[in-house]
Amino acid sequence: MIEASAILAIAHRDFIKLLRDRARIVTSFAFPLIFIGILGSSLQSGFGERAGTNLLVFVFTGVLGMTIWQSTAQGIISLIADREEDFSQEIFVSPINRYSIILGKILGESLVALPQALGIIAFGFILQIPIGPDQLARMALALVVIALFGGAFGVIVLANLGSQRAAQQIFPFIFLPQYFLAGLFNPIANLPLPLDILSKISPMRYAVDLMRDAYYSTTAERVQLFDAGTNLAIIGAMFVVFMVVGTFLFVRAERNR
């Protein structure tokens, strides 16, 4: 009970922080909207129509999955900022379980990511991307899974970083290659073997594919690589490993300085 209460309090704090940071709300929409609005639309007008597929929808579903996944991952890494601002001391000297701290943080960052998802979906409607009610329901469920999964990925990255500066330096190397290996804008069905291996070990790929499956499974088109069951099984396994190993390493690194 105490642990559950503490998890909710930690999650609530992250959400309050978002609501009070208007600049962050605005900037969090900027990238997805650029990707979908400019890149998605231009790909569609340049190639999509000729190829007979809707590349705007392809980019939209990919960017939606990626944004939520990356948002929670980066949110978790903000524990480093908390440490540098000395706020995490208050959390870490409290008697609650270390896993509860991480879980609360993941829940909070997932809550933070959801308004972002709503914004992107609303933008999808503006661009007249056809989204039916059953697709929307499935995408909402996928969003929850993707948010939690992104959080777990954040934990394993966090566990191996020493400072906010190190985090900022390493971000482009962690996220940018995965944009292409996860097939946000590009097809990854027939990759050369080395790239195929890299793609298959990219966690973002499964987040993106889960979102695409949620959208495309009721359509005639099939752009998703795996079905929902396979994606969920892989995501579940990665989630457990990232959480257990990540939290263990993080707590150890915090104390063994």
Partner: protein
Amino acid sequence: MIRVEDLVKRYKKAESNAVDGISFQVKAGEFFVLLGPNGAGKTTTISILTTTLSPTSGGATIDGSDIVREASAVRRKVGIIFQRPSLDQNLTAEENVRFHAVLYGIYPYAPTYGLMSRGYRAKVEELAKLLGILRDIHKPIKTFSGGMRRKLEIMRSLLHDPKVLFLDEPTAGLDVPTRRTLWEHLSEVRRTSGTTIFLTTHYLEEAEEADRICIIDKGRVVSFGTPDDIKRDLVEDYVLVDAADRSALVGELARLGYTTSGGAPFKLHLDGHTVHAVLRSIDTPLNVVKTHTPTLEDAYLEIVSRSHD
């Protein structure tokens, strides 16, 4: 209440120990001060005792709980005021207090103040009245002065009735009037709660009120005891004397049985005699007489400079 034994901490990639085999004990209800210059190992010691840092070797117990094996029990028993404020700038004063209360399992979580239990709201009101911030309790912490933030932190840290309250240089960076009011506030807290206080500081005047002081430097204990003990042990009373005829003076001092040290001017240890009696007993005409009766601060500076030699 606190038992520290042979505690050692060496940070990764460091060439020497930040804490180098310190041992001491703190009794229940005591006002204990860990005094030392910057970099002496005070914060490292407090971090280890509050379980946020692992010791390299040695150990400690707090109220019978081992800081490594029973870290969670230790955390329940201690309250901490960090060197740098640990309030969340994005939250209001009340939200900061609520966050703490929930993390320590004192009250169950609710998303708004109004939904929190009646007991919690009564506690917050009482606390806000005590600090004189009844009107500002729902304002962001950013709008509070440094001194007020510190007071709020102290009140917050006492919410879960800790057996030991650790304060790591709580007055660093505050101006003199704020330091004084904070100090009065802390004395009041001691009187009413009877909590054991463990304070680290490099301000000597903050240590004068202590029941016992442990002076550390370069990670080692250099002196330990009540402020009076430390003064008695470390404060040396002496007179510096010199004469035109130095050989006559040296001979006479030896004949009179006085202990001296160093070259001219000679350091003449009083060893319980008064300055007046010592000077009257010397016949050789003196051309230098300087008395030395140091304060606790002189003693502290001397200890620290000695350990740096």
